[in-house]
C-alpha cells in the first residue's frame, strides 16, 4: 500500500503534510521516507557505505524482518538480552548503541518498505549517492567553535553549553563535563565532519535531543562546533599527548600520594612510643575473670 501511495503526487503531498504534522504535533505518519529522514538518516546511509551506523541498503534481504523490528524498537534490549548479532553490531560500531525508537509498528513497516524501495545492497550502486565532501573550515570557525563549546559565547537559541556534558582535551578547554562522552576523538570515531554535523543538528541521543528540543543549534553554529571538534582531533594527534582517563589518573595519583604520605609519616613520627611499656607484662598476666 505504501508503495502505491508513494507513487502518486497526492500521496507525496500527503506524506509531506503528515511529516510536518509529525514534527509539529507528534502525530503518527505513514511516509517511510519522511520517517527515515527524521529518525534514521542521521546515522544511516542508503548506499555509500558505513556511516555512524551501517549502510541500510538491502537490509530487508540481509536480516530477518522480525529481528529488524525488535532491533529498531529497542536495540539495547536485544544487546542486553545477549543476542549475538546485535552484540556483534554493537561492537563493530564503536560500542555506540542505537537509541530506542518506540515507534508504532506501522511506522517501522513504513521505514523498512522505504528502505526496500531504495534498491538492494547487492551491487546496485546506482542508488548509492557519492559521499558528501568534507566541508572546509576557516580558523575563525575553529575559534568561534571553541568559544561556543566552552560557553564563552552563548548559543544563539540559548541551548546549554556543550562543556556542561562533554569534555574535549584541547589547549583552552579545561575540565569539561563527564555526563556524556569525551569528544576529543569524536571526529575520528564517527568518521568525519559530516557525521558530526548530522549528529549535532539532529541528534539521535535522547538526552541531548531533549536538551536542545526547543533551543536548536543553528546551522552556522553546527559548522563552527564541527570545525572545533575536527581541529581538536587534529591537534590531539600532533601536539597534545593523550591524557589518561581521569579515573585512572585519580587512582594512580591516590596510590602514589598515599605511599608518599605514609613515608613522610614514618619519617616524622616513626620513632614515637607506640605501646604501653607494661603491655607485655599485662599480656603475661593470668586473668581472674
Amino acid at each position: 500500500m505504501m508503495k502505491e501511495i508513494m507513487k502518486t503526487y497526492r500521496g507525496r503531498l500527503l506524506a509531506t503534510l503528515m511529516l510536518l504534522s509529525l514534527v509539529g504535533t507528534g502525530l503518527y505518519g505513514q511516509d517511510g521516507e519522511a520517517i527515515f529522514k527524521q529518525n534514521c538518516a542521521v546515522c544511516h546511509k542508503l548506499g555509500g557505505g558505513k556511516f555512524i551506523g551501517p549502510d541500510l541498503v538491502g537490509i530487508n534481504d540481509r536480516r530477518d524482518n522480525a529481528w529488524l523490528k525488535s532491533f529498531i524498537s529497542s536495540s539495547q534490549t536485544l544487546i542486553k538480552g545477549g543476542d549475538a548479532e546485535a552484540i556483534a553490531l554493537f561492537n563493530e560500531f564503536n560500542k555506540l548503541a542505537m537509541p530506542d525508537f518506540p515507534l508504532p509498528p506501522a511506522d517501522i513497516d513504513a521505514i523498512l518498505s522505504y528502505i526496500g524501495s531504495q534498491g538492494s545492497g547487492s551491487g546496485s550502486g546506482a542508488v548509492a549517492a557519492a559521499p558528501a565532501p568534507e566541508p572546509d573550515f576557516t580558523a575563525e570557525d575553529v575559534a568561534r567553535g571553541e568559544e561556543l563549546f566552552t560557553g564563552q559565547y552563548e548559543l544563539e537559541n540559548g541551548g546549554p553549553t556543550c562543556l556542561s556534558c562533554h569534555n574535549v582535551s584541547a589547549e583552552n578547554v579545561s575540565g569539561g563535563g563527564l555526563l556524556a562522552r569525551d569528544l576529543t576523538q569524536a571526529h575520528q570515531r564517527l568518521g568525519g565532519s559530516n557525521a558530526i554535523i548530522g549528529i549535532i543538528s539532529s541528534t539521535p541521543f535522547p538526552a541531548m535531543a531533549n536538551a536542545y528540543k526547543d533551543k536548536p543549534i543553528t546551522e552556522t553554529e553546527v559548522l563552527q562546533l564541527t570545525a572545533f571538534l575536527k581541529n581538536a582531533q587534529e591537534n590531539l594527534s600532533t601536539e597534545i599527548p593523550v591524557v589518561k582517563s581521569t579515573v585512572e589518573v585519580f587512582w594512580i595519583g591516590s596510590g602514589c600520594g598515599l605511599v608518599a604520605l605514609l613515608v613522610i609519616i614514618q619519617l616524622l613520627w616513626g620513632r614515637r612510643k607506640k605501646k604501653a611499656v607494661k603491655s607485655d607484662i599485662f599480656k603475661r598476666q593470668i586473668s581472674t575473670n
Partner: protein, 497 residues
C-alpha cells in the same frame, strides 16, 4: 657570680625501710582528688626495679631530660621544632597503663550483701570509670622485688651489667634490694620548665621550688614528657598538669614537707644551698664524666665572705644565708661528700641527693660454718658488696664507679670508726687505713654519725623563714591598696563586692 638560694634535700637510703608513709602522707594532703588519684608526687621504689611509671629511667622510651648538642644541650623530647611536629599529639607520653588504673573497692557490698553460702567480697572498681576492674598493676607493684621477671629484671640500670652479674642478683642467697624514695628534684636546670609552651611552669626565686601555674597551664603535657624523673602528672579531670610543690605552704610557715615530716626512718633532710646561677648552663652541658663534680662545684660555701656579700646584693635574705650555714644538706653534699644526685646524666642538675645504701657483703659457708660476710668482718670490703658498684654508678654518677666507691668507702670508714667506738673489736690499723684512705677525721666521722643517727627534727630540717612580705612586694605595690580592705582580692568572692 649570681648567687641564689635553693631548698635542697638529702635522702639517706640506708635508713629507708620502705614503709611508704611518705607517699601516703603526700597523697592524703595533696593528691586524693578526682583526676589526681594516680599521681604519686612522692613514691618509694624498690631497686632493682622498674619504678613508677614503669621504666621511667629509660629515656629511649620516654624521651625525657636533656641531651648534649654541640657545646650546649637541648631537650630530648621537646622543643620548638619537635613541638611543632607533634603539635596535635605529644608522643612518648606515659599512658595510664604505664602508671596504673587507680581503683577502690565496693566496701558497701560487705554490709549490704544478702545472706548466702559465700563470704561477701568487696570487688575492685576503677576510680576513673567507676566500673569493675581487674587490678593489673599499682604504683608499687614491684615492691620488695615482687614480680621480678617482669619488673626488676628489666631495671634500666642493668644496661652495663653482664648477664652473669644480673643473674647473680637474683640468686636466692645473693639477692638484695634497697629502696629509692623519689619526689620532684626541683632541678636547677628543669626540663619541664624549658619544655612548657605556655610558660606555665616556673622556678620560684626565693627558694627554687618548681611550680606549675594552674591558671596558665594549657594541657600540652610537654612537661610530662620532658621531666626525666616523670614527676609531672597530668590531671585528666582539671585538664592541667600537676607536680610536687615541696609543700611550699608548709615551708612558708616553717614546717617540713609532709613526706619528710612523716618519715618513719628519718631518712630525709632539707636545707638551703647557695649556688651560682651563672654556671648552670656550663654544668648542664659538661662531659658526662664531669657531671657530678661540676654540679657539686656550683654550690657555694655559705661561710665565704665573698659569697655572702654577693648573696646579699642579689636579695637573698640574711635569714636564708644563716639557714644555708646550718643546712644539713650542705654538710652531706659538700662538706662530707657522701650524697649524690640521682641520674645526673639527665642533665637537669637535680637538687635531691641520695646517700647510697651500704648493703651487706656476700655471705658464705666455709667448712660448714656460716659466715655473714665473705670476708672476716661483717662489713667487708665494698668490692664484695652484693650490689655491683656498676649498678649504683648507673643510678648516682652517670656510670662513674670510682665516684660511688669513694662515697661507699667514706660510709664504710664511719662504720669502722663507730664499731671501734662502741664495740672495739677491730684492728686499729685497719680502721686507720680505711679513714686515711678517704681523708676522714674521727671528728668528721662522729659528726656524720650524729647527723645520720641522732639528729633532732630541727637539725634535719633547717627551713629558711619565708619573708612573704618581701615576696608580695616583688609582685604587687602594696602601697597602692593601703587604707583599703585588706590587700584586695585576686578573684572577687562569689557573693560580689
Amino acid at each position: 657570680m649570681d648567687v641564689r638560694s635553693q631548698v635542697a634535700m638529702v635522702f639517706h637510703l640506708d635508713k629507708c625501710i620502705g614503709c611508704h608513709t611518705c607517699s601516703i602522707a603526700c597523697k592524703n594532703v595533696w593528691t586524693d582528688r578526682r583526676g589526681a588519684e594516680y599521681m604519686w608526687w612522692n613514691n618509694v621504689e624498690t631497686k632493682p626495679g622498674t619504678g613508677y611509671p614503669t621504666r621511667w629511667e629509660d629515656q629511649e622510651v620516654y624521651k625525657g631530660g636533656w641531651e648534649a648538642s654541640g657545646n650546649s644541650i637541648s631537650l630530648k623530647g621537646a622543643g620548638k621544632l619537635k613541638g611543632l611536629k607533634n603539635i596535635f599529639h605529644n608522643p612518648h607520653l606515659p599512658v595510664l597503663e604505664d602508671y596504673y588504673e587507680p581503683w577502690t573497692y565496693k566496701y558497701q557490698d560487705l554490709f549490704t550483701a544478702p545472706e548466702g553460702d559465700d563470704q561477701p567480697t568487696a570487688r575492685p572498681v576503677s576510680l576513673i570509670t567507676g566500673e569493675e576492674v581487674e587490678v593489673q598493676s599499682g604504683p608499687n607493684w614491684d615492691d620488695d622485688l615482687g614480680g621480678s621477671p617482669d619488673y626488676a629484671r628489666h631495671d634500666v640500670n642493668f644496661k652495663d651489667l653482664s648477664a652473669a652479674e644480673q643473674e647473680s642478683l637474683f640468686q636466692l642467697e645473693r639477692m638484695t634490694f634497697h629502696y629509692l624514695p623519689r619526689i620532684c628534684n626541683h632541678c636547677l636546670n628543669p626540663a619541664c620548665v624549658a619544655s612548657c609552651p605556655s610558660a606555665a611552669i616556673y622556678k620560684r626565686g626565693e627558694d627554687g621550688v618548681v611550680l606549675i601555674n594552674q591558671e596558665r597551664c594549657r594541657a600540652w603535657r610537654m612537661c610530662v614528657t620532658a621531666c626525666p624523673y616523670k614527676k609531672s602528672y597530668y590531671n585528666w579531670n582539671t585538664g592541667k598538669s600537676e607536680k610536687c610543690i615541696l609543700c611550699y605552704p608548709r615551708l612558708e610557715s616553717g614546717q617540713a614537707p609532709a613526706c619528710m615530716h612523716s618519715c618513719v626512718g628519718r631518712i630525709r633532710y632539707l636545707g638551703v644551698l647557695l649556688y651560682d646561677a651563672d654556671k648552670i648552663q656550663q654544668v648542664a652541658s659538661c662531659a658526662e664524666k664531669d657531671l657530678v663534680d661540676s654540679q657539686l662545684d656550683i654550690y657555694l660555701d655559705p661561710f665565704d665572705e665573698k659569697v655572702i656579700r654577693q648573696a646579699e646584693k642579689n636579695g637573698v635574705a640574711a635569714s636564708t644565708i644563716t639557714a644555708a650555714q646550718k643546712s644539713p644538706v650542705y654538710k652531706y653534699v659538700k662538706e662530707w661528700g657522701i650524697a649524690l644526685p640521682l641520674h645526673p646524666e639527665f642533665r637537669t642538675v637535680p637538687n635531691l641527693f641520695y646517700v647510697p645504701p651500704l648493703l651487706p657483703a656476700m655471705a658464705s659457708v666455709q667448712d660448714g660454718v656460716y659466715n655473714e660476710s665473705s670476708s672476716e668482718y661483717l662489713w667487708g670490703g665494698i668490692e664484695t658488696s652484693r650490689l655491683p658498684m656498676k649498678y649504683l654508678a648507673s643510678l648516682f654518677t652517670a656510670g662513674d664507679e670510682e665516684k660511688v666507691k669513694e662515697v661507699m668507702k667514706k660510709l664504710m670508714a664511719v662504720r669502722f670508726h663507730r664499731r671501734n667506738e662502741t664495740v672495739g673489736d677491730m684492728e686499729v690499723e685497719r680502721i686507720e687505713k680505711a679513714m686515711s684512705e678517704v681523708g676522714m677525721s674521727k671528728e668528721m666521722a662522729d659528726e656524720i654519725f650524729r647527723l645520720t643517727s641522732l639528729a633532732t627534727f630541727d637539725e634535719r630540717f633547717v627551713i629558711p623563714p619565708a619573708h612573704r612580705e618581701e615576696s608580695i612586694e616583688m609582685i604587687e605595690a602594696t602601697a597602692d591598696v593601703k587604707g583599703e580592705t585588706g590587700f584586695g582580692f585576686k578573684d572577687k568572692p562569689a557573693r560580689g563586692l
